[in-house]
Amino acid sequence: MLGMILILALAGCTATTQTKEQVFTQQFRTGTEGLYMRFAQNLPPTRLFSGEELAVVLEIENRGTAPIGGPGDRIYLSGFDPSIISGISPVGEQIPLLEGRSQFVNQGGFDTVSFKAITRILTDRYPVRILATACYTYETVASSNVCIDPDPYVAAIRQRVCVPANVGFGGGQGAPVSVTLAEVDASPGKTRFKIHVQNVGGGEVFRSGGNTLNKCGPGGELGFDEVDYVELADVSVSGTSIRGSCRPLDQGHIRLTNGQGLVYCEFDRPRGEAAYVSPLTVVLRYGYRNSLLRDVEILPST
């Protein structure tokens, strides 16, 4: 009996002393979310009496890998009659700086954004659906190794380290817009890439830039030529940019149709004549909009 107790005690001691944390160095560019937001519990409440203060608190978290909180990144509240619910700025609230996940930090930044409003005295109930809209600039960095074969159709039999093949980018890159596939087409002296891009975050994507970001809120109006565009910031092979070869681009942007887009790029400066593996890196930049709803009922206080 004493022996058993001793074994258990020792096992307990060992367990506590063995909790060595491993350094987070695994692949961090995964996931399909950018900014995640939710209403704090009971803020806003589902029911309140007219004349009372309406407090709305949004808990926000950067679940992607790019930082959020730059100039123009804002959260707006809308959906209510401003003559009944007043005191909420139509220009929204600045999103505080939220760092993204990185190789060494496995959780993105977390913060809250608060709104306070006054409700007018009512004689009838006013059911309202409050819409929180977050507008922010985001970036996707997708990188994967591709096979570059400068002479794929050579007649001579020789040993190759790789054969050019399509590269899938499953699971996202820690951003709401993903590079889903790079089709590789090797020809003598030139490798063509057909890069597939998709909006996987459940929100709306629009052209990057302060001008469009300002129009993203409920008071603004993004034009048809501004929504569903993603800026192709860079495409590089072995660190050499091939962005200049990419087609078709509309002022440097890829057009998405039904949330999906395509761009064709060429790499025509292979090293030597033997096939080799090299990283293909795609950088996308865009504005993104997420929204969230909460039903609130304002009851008459008279």
Binding site: S78, S83, D124, V128, T133, G219, G223, F224
Partner: protein, 306 residues
């Protein structure tokens, strides 16, 4: 016995520890008073007047006036009509005033008033063995339908923006708004405005008399109970006004003659429009219908010879 007491004590302690174990979780619901299609409804109290009375005798007729709508009636008029050759009311007039408060969240049933009439039958004369007399009770009163509705204002006329809180669509209100004349439906249209960055809301409002009485111009309700003919133009006339949020809408026509059959439509607009920067939101539209109303009930008393 000791065991039972101990168990009871334990139960009380446990229920005290666990919050909400015996608590009601549902929140109190306020009574829905803004529904219904009735106003002031007169009703003969059962057994009054009696079916048969002897000539030269007295009988009592009691009428209950219940305000089943949401509007207070502060200056209602009632009148009795009957063949004065066979009946008379001793010490009372055929007309009078009444006050009955409407339904509210504090009095969801509405107020009732009991009116008592003491009739005396006259002699039938030698020719008649019996005679059926018809007594009609009329309640005439001004009434207002106040329809607080929630409509969707979508200033994005071209439909460019996704993720809206609501979409303007026709709404129907078959249960009424606690008044005999009801707003049956509202169709919201958001039209382009002549000014940039503005949109013009337009509401097509359908109204109908769902009560059992008759509608008249609000200023003529007293005359309706006087027995004087009002003329065709006085009947079925309703004054219409509406507000959207804080803004008074322009309704055309402001006074409408309701159709005898079917629905009557009114169009209310906000000529100055709404700024498009306000986006899409829900707003209170309050439609107010102003009219006079007459509710009548009839009964028969058989006067027989002694």
């Amino acid at each position: 016995m000791k065991k039972t007491i101990a168990l009871l004590v334990l139960l009380v302690l446990v229920s005290g520890c666990q919050t909400g174990l015996f608590q009601r979780k549902d929140t109190m619901q306020l009574p829905e008073v803004n529904i219904g299609t009735q106003g002031v409804e007169p009703l003969f109290i059962q057994g009054t007047p009696p079916r048969e009375v002897f000539e030269g005798s007295a009988f009592t007729m009691m009428v209950n006036l219940a305000n089943l709508g949401t509007r207070d009636v502060d200056d209602g008029i009632y009148s009795l009509s009957y063949e004065q050759q066979y009946l008379y009311i001793a010490g009372q007039k055929n007309q009078g005033r009444f006050v009955v408060r409407g339904k509210s969240i504090f009095n969801p049933q509405g107020e009732e008033r009991l009116l008592n009439f003491a009739f005396t039958t006259k002699s039938l004369g030698p020719q008649l063995q019996g005679y059926p007399v018809t007594i009609t009770f009329n309640a005439c009163y001004p009434y207002v339908t106040n329809a607080p509705l929630i409509v969707c204002i979508d200033t994005d006329v071209t439909g460019k923006k996704p993720g809206k809180v609501c979409t303007p669509q026709p709404q129907t209100f078959p249960r009424g708004q606690g008044a005999p004349v009801a707003v049956m439906s509202v169709e919201t249209k958001i039209l382009p405005h002549e000014m940039p960055n503005r949109a013009r809301p337009e509401f097509v409002i359908t109204i109908k008399n769902l009560g059992s009485g008759q509608v008249m111009a609000s200023q003529l309700y007293r005359e309706a109970c006087s027995g004087r003919p009002l003329g065709e133009d006085a009947w079925n006339v309703v004054g219409v006004s509406a507000t959207l949020s804080d803004s008074v809408l322009t309704c055309a026509p402001e006074t409408i003659k309701m159709k005898q059959q079917g629905d009557t439509r009114i169009v209310c607009t906000q000529p100055e429009g709404i700024e498009t920067r306000l986006g899409t939101y829900t707003a209170p539209l309050t439609v107010t219908l102003d009219y006079g109303y007459i509710s009548s009930i009839t009964t028969q008393v058989n006067i027989v010879k002694q």
